[in-house]
Structure formats: structure tokens, C-alpha cells
């Protein structure tokens, strides 16, 4: 029983392409997040959704667009991929603000 699942685990693509990463949680949580982990392992929040509404939108290029069709899903679409987008992207969820976040297994995106 996977709590937070992301697909795909690995994604290799060429510059300029458009790609999506899917995330689903079966924990009944009301808040979902996208985090980016760079090559130095630093984790930075990108977006946060609460009950399908965007509540945090960090300074992220508008090539990145989150989509939340329902509160169990938060997908990340990236347009016109650049070399600097190469990173590990983590989806996470939590029940109520201030409680721990549960993370997916991460998606390693490599742009060539």
C-alpha cells in the first residue's frame, strides 16, 4: 500500500520538450506539495495545494504548472525543459497544516 506515489521514477528527456510527473496519495490528506532537490541535495518547496487550491507558489519559472484535479492528485507539468531543470522532484502530502509531510519516492529528471 503506497501512501504517496509518483510516476515516473526516472525521466530522461531532451531540452525543449514538455513533460509531466504524476502524484497520487491515498492517505486522505488535504494538502499536497511539490519539492525540488538540487544536485547539492538542497530541498526547496515549489508549490503547495490545499483541497485543490494553490496556497504556496514559490518563485518558480512559469514553465512549471501544477494541476490538482482532486485533493488526492497533484501533477506537475513542465514546458520547454532546460538543462537546469535536472533535479529530483518530490511530491508530498500532509493531513493538516503543521503536521509531518509524507513523501513520494521522488522523480529523477535528467534533461540532456
Amino acid at each position: 500500500d503506497t501512501a504517496v506515489s509518483q510516476t515516473p521514477k526516472y525521466l530522461v528527456t531532451q531540452m525543449g520538450n514538455d513533460k509531466s510527473i504524476k502524484c497520487e496519495q491515498n492517505l486522505g490528506h488535504d494538502t499536497m506539495y511539490w519539492y525540488k532537490q538540487d544536485s547539492k541535495k538542497f530541498l526547496k518547496i515549489m508549490f503547495s495545494y490545499n483541497n485543490k487550491e494553490l496556497i504556496i507558489n514559490e518563485t518558480v519559472p512559469n514553465r512549471f504548472s501544477p494541476k490538482s484535479p482532486d485533493k488526492a492528485h497533484l501533477n506537475l507539468h513542465i514546458n520547454s525543459l532546460e538543462l537546469g531543470d535536472s533535479a529530483v522532484y518530490f511530491c508530498a502530502s500532509s493531513q493538516v497544516a503543521r503536521t509531518e509531510a509524507f513523501f513520494g519516492q521522488g522523480t529523477r529528471l535528467t534533461v540532456v
Binding site: K41, I55, F103
Partner: protein
């Protein structure tokens, strides 16, 4: 702005010994949560322990315990009886009412046999 600082990029410890990882944070909020997450080579982010700021008692989870000093804004993690499987990157994290989980830079812990 909230910040989390882990001043030890790397640490090592012998198996069965005790090690302490440091973390300090800065915030103007009074209600918040603190966490330690572990990231082994598998890449999975695993919650190790959590602490509510309003609780004075330090959290404990088996071999893992914290030393929470609210006035000093310090939140260190002690690992007792270190095991090879504890080798991982450890992240200190802080969550406020805005649902923003802020991470420190991480400490790479290596447990040597």
C-alpha cells in the same frame, strides 16, 4: 523569513556509538513543528522524529531522541547505538502555519563498521 541551518555537512560515527546532529532555526512564529527526516541512498524521504514547539518534553523514538531548546532555537538529533543502516543524509525541517516545510542543508552521516 524562516531559515534552518545545519552546520555539519558531514559526520561519521563508529557502529554502536552515539552521535549528535545539530540544527538551528530562525522564526518569529510561536507555533510550529520541527522534524528530522532521513534520506538513505534509496532517495526515499523518511520521517525520523517530530517535535511540537509547544511541548517542553523532548521527543524520543527508540534510538532517536532530540534536544529541543526553544529559547535558543536549537533542535539537535541524537542517535544512540548507531547502526550501519543509519547511514544517510539527515535533514532538519521546520513547518509553520502556512504549510511551508523548510529544510536545512542536510548532514551526511556515515556509520562505520
Amino acid at each position: 523569513a524562516q531559515t534552518v541551518t545545519q552546520s555539519q555537512p558531514e559526520m561519521s560515527v563508529q557502529e554502536a556509538e552515539t552521535v549528535t546532529l545539530s540544527c538551528t532555526y530562525d522564526t518569529s512564529e510561536s507555533n510550529y513543528y520541527l522534524f528530522w527526516y532521513k534520506q538513505p541512498p534509496s532517495r526515499q524521504m523518511i520521517l525520523v522524529i517530530r517535535q511540537e514547539a509547544y511541548k517542553q518534553q523532548n521527543a524520543t523514538e527508540n534510538r532517536f531522541s532530540v534536544n529541543f531548546q526553544k529559547a535558543a532555537k536549537s533542535f539537535s538529533l541524537k542517535i544512540s547505538d548507531s547502526q550501519l543502516g543509519d547511514t544517510a543524509m539527515y535533514f532538519c525541517a521546520f513547518m509553520t502555519s502556512g504549510s511551508r516545510l523548510t529544510f536545512g542543508e542536510g548532514t551526511q552521516l556515515t556509520v562505520n563498521p
